[in-house]
Symmetry: C2
Subunit: 571 residues, 2 copies
């Protein structure tokens, strides 16, 4: 420790946002070089490599082949699938001195398809699954909580190629199983939830979520266990029956200055659910599209992005309102000069209050199917706590989670756009059926810290601890203590035990505080006091109890403890 | 092999420039995604990881601590040392959506100093040495010969921090030793040569060069063994004695249209050495500077770059010639309105023919020290074959080499610019003394291929072979052959031997050609014919002799051969 590059900090820097972020910095696991850009210090590097190795072993176990694609990826391939433009807001781009454009890779679907086209000629070569660990760039607007949401991070991304949908389902299931084993070995209580496919395309996707208050994903979970989904994807049971049209026809009411649902509630003394909320957004081609929701519901942006085929929602400007014959603050679906998407929970036939498309005016008794028509989209709004499970009707719970992995079965989404085909058994050329499977390495490390620590520091699961045994010599300037501790360290290392040796000239207080902070599973203290009883003191990090172990059997005892811990961790 | 992602090619793509480049592509080691951007296919990935592990072990052996710094590095830190501008021509840059600039890392001297400033507070924490394997970006104008000069590649870069020059020398020597062992284990006959410090700063640097005709570095070597240097750095013994001034004063001669040394030689019937060659270039501030060389010598750009403090030589334009009172094609040192740098081999006092700074005219009997004065720089020209060794005067040889590693002792070069200090034992703050030490991983792999192959394919040194044993079943559709081969593979794998199994339905010709191409050290053929004598056929890749090994002892025999090969490779 006297030479370790990376020093522990008594206090966490003020910008540290979560307990794991604070401990990660304090324990010298990683250091920021800039917002969202981190260096693994030697101690953290060892954890990261152990995490990587566990992920690798579980990929190898299902027959995935390791390879490595580059960080810089040429624009023209991204353009084949439309993702060059779609990913612009969240990626880093560069140009070479000839003006050719590259992306700091976001993921590698396009590129692995390119390779598959040249390496997989025939159906005989499938199923095929490859993976790599590679740095990814994400220009997050708000890098968050250290390694939980960084702007550069190493991801294990795997890709499967199959003959057909049935083959893809098998590969997807194999990866799902590998993920379950991976998180279990990492000591993470991850649950699998349905998720949005986002920028990946396709329709089937799952995320593995570790439920913790520091997570920035929200998960809808049915307490019966039959349903769990990321809020971006979640749906709920709704009454689908329409109602009879209201007796009254639509009629204009004066609503001066009432440009929000809150203002309308106050003005008209009606609940939010009595209103229609109309939003004017732009589609992928930049044309205005209206979105209509019940007034008491929030837009689910992920679902709208997917429907519009855009990477981020862009709201319409004044010119678009004018072109659609409306005004901001008073927009409504009746007579609007733009295509309308309506959330499926807007009850057909029921009379709502909606904007009149003129300043200071709304219409009441506006009914879908009579006063306006629209494309109905299944749940374009966010589910809230207490909404009913779509499977069984039980009230849903909402929890926060950290997404530690995701898997996508996108099928022919990329193959179609890239014309990526193989020679099928019947002699025709067929499209590859693909899936992709990602785990961010740094996020695992910090999620482990977020969920495995106490007031004093990190409590590493044995499988990913930077070292297995922490030997503390007290004091180092006592010749007997020093030589005993050194001999003990040498004996452990000779047996292959990974030892961190606190050989610094520091007080017992500093050394014990650092040992608790760094969180190595077993601490052994060699002190003047312990040596008076010819013993060393052994204390597991997770326990409050220390025990004295006779000096002459201590090394053998520790080797045995480590051996059993390794076996348990490998299961 | 039937499922291996990556297929061998009968013919090398036409763009493959060297034998190693051709074999690398044919054997499915790596594939280009774009010019200079490569993907490691699974077979090559295994080689790359073995190379990386050997490098790692030798770094660990000298006490270097592994860490990992990011690929994206913020501009403001590069600007502290002036390298943001200096490296512009050969690096990739990007901006985030807030307009903040980043470089795809070139190396990490600036960043490791930043970390040292926060992690190393006191002299007690040194010497310290850290390293990482990380992707580097180099926007090479001409990416060359596959992995020999790629635009993205993983480099192991190590950095040492010491108290003083003496400490740095020790760290430098430790790295030099680690490099010698590393290349020896990789099977590369690398020699250590003096080298230019280039963009790294400082004055002491060595390169490790593997001499091969495909290399693009040129190395001056004294056959006595007392001197070897990269041509960029090489010097030679020259007569330093000046001469008496020529009797005649300088006088103008008409040289219509003679704008090159070749044209002047023809016109005046004089050897090239009778002329002075004058070049007008720009310094770091963009101001014109003249460089004067003997007419028979070529400019050494590396030395001039270093003197000017620029990343690349920019030649002056017409306006600069006019401002200096000269014209292109007829520039000379006499009366020139620009500072002059003169190569030390221009003999003081001797009369030369030089440009007259007016069209179609030169001056004869121009003498340094009489007709012009200049800053004399030690050897600003390239050494050529037959020049004399600066140490012993023996004629030098020029060879081509591939630079497989480089080490730099830059001292306080970065620390000064960044004010990177530690608390010294005497209570004052002192500058870190640093060095950096690089090895490109991909270049090792291809250099091994360049220097270890035959007409049929690669011959991997055992230590880096993708697999240890290649088992070929012939034919696979023979039930006895198949089951015997599978049992043999299983027996080897159970003993931890790395086996590539050719289980494809291909002919003997195809399978043997692929085995030779891929170049795994030991090939074992299980065939109908070998089984008639209850044997398998064993053939080392490097040998032309095959032998029959009785089937019942074959697995034990191979395990033993592999064990001995591993031991030999670890030495």
């Amino acid at each position: 420790m006297s030479r370790m590059f990376g020093r522990t900090l008594r206090e966490a820097p003020s910008e540290a946002q979560t307990p794991g972020h604070q401990l990660m910095l304090r324990a010298a696991i990683a250091r920021p070089l800039a917002a969202g850009l981190y260096t693994w210090l030697p101690l953290g590097f060892r954890v990261m490599k152990k995490v990587e190795q566990i992920i690798r072993e579980e990929q190898d176990r299902i027959g995935a082949q390791e390879m490595e694609m580059p960080v810089l990826t040429p624009a023209e391939v991204w353009k084949m699938t439309g993702r060059w433009d779609m990913l612009e807001p969240i990626t880093f781009r560069t140009k070479d001195h000839n003006g050719r454009e590259f992306m700091v890779s976001y993921t590698h679907e396009e590129f692995v398809h390119l390779h598959a086209m040249s390496e997989i000629l025939s159906y005989r070569q499938m199923p095929a699954m490859v993976y790599h660990f590679q740095s990814k760039g994400r220009d997050e607007v708000r890098p968050r909580a250290g390694l939980l949401r960084a702007r550069e991070f190493v991801m294990k991304d795997a890709y499967s190629f199959d003959l057909d949908e049935a083959g893809l389902e098998k590969s997807y299931a194999a990866q799902h199983g590998a993920y379950v084993r991976t998180f279990q070995r990492l000591g993470l209580a991850a649950i699998s939830v349905e998720s949005d496919t986002g920028a990946m395309g396709g329709d089937i996707a799952h995320e593995f979520q570790v439920l913790t208050a520091v997570g920035d994903d929200r998960i809808a979970i049915c307490p019966t266990g039959d349903y769990s989904a990321n809020l971006e994807r979640a749906t709920r049971k709704i009454e689908t029956a329409g109602e009879a049209f209201p007796k009254a026809g639509k009629s204009e009411i004066a609503t001066p200055g009432a440009t929000s649902i809150e203002a309308l509630e106050a003005l008209l003394k009606l609940p939010a659910s009595a209103f229609l909320k109309t939003l004017l957004v732009k589609d992928a081609a930049g044309k205005a599209v209206a979105v209509v929701l019940p007034g008491d519901r929030s837009l689910n942006e992920a679902k709208l992005r997917k429907r519009l085929g855009v990477g981020e929602i862009r709201f319409a400007g004044d010119a678009d309102f004018t072109a659609a014959g409306s005004v901001p603050g008073y927009i409504g679906p009746v007579g609007l000069g733009a295509p309308i998407l309506v959330d499926a929970s807007v009850v057909s036939g029921r009379g709502y209050v909606a904007g009149a498309n003129k300043k200071d005016s709304h219409l009441k008794d506006v009914a879908l199917g009579r006063d306006f028509t629209a494309e109905v989209l299944d749940l374009l709004h966010d589910v809230v706590e207490g909404d009913l499970c779509p499977k069984c009707g039980t009230p849903l719970e909402l929890k926060r989670g950290v997404e530690v992995g995701n898997i996508f079965a996108y099928g022919t989404y990329y193959a179609k756009k890239m014309n990526a085909t193989y020679l099928a058994e019947d002699g025709t050329r067929k499209l590859f059926f693909g899936g992709s499977y990602g785990i961010g390495v740094g996020r695992q490390v910090q999620t482990i810290i977020e969920t495995s620590h106490d007031d004093r520091g990190i409590i590493w699961p044995f499988a990913v601890a930077p070292y297995e045994v922490h030997v503390v010599a007290l004091p180092m300037n006592d010749e007997t203590v020093r030589s005993t501790a050194e001999a003990f360290v040498a004996a452990l290392e000779a047996k292959g035990v990974e030892v961190l040796f606190d050989d610094r000239d520091e007080s017992a207080g500093v050394k014990f505080a650092d040992a608790d902070l760094i969180g190595i599973p077993f601490r052994v203290t060699v002190s003047k006091r312990s040596l008076t009883s010819k013993s060393v003191e052994l204390k597991p990090r997770a326990s409050t109890e220390a025990e004295l172990v006779p000096q002459n059997v201590a090394a053998d005892r520790l080797v045995d403890i480590v051996r059993r811990a390794r076996e348990a961790a490998a299961r």
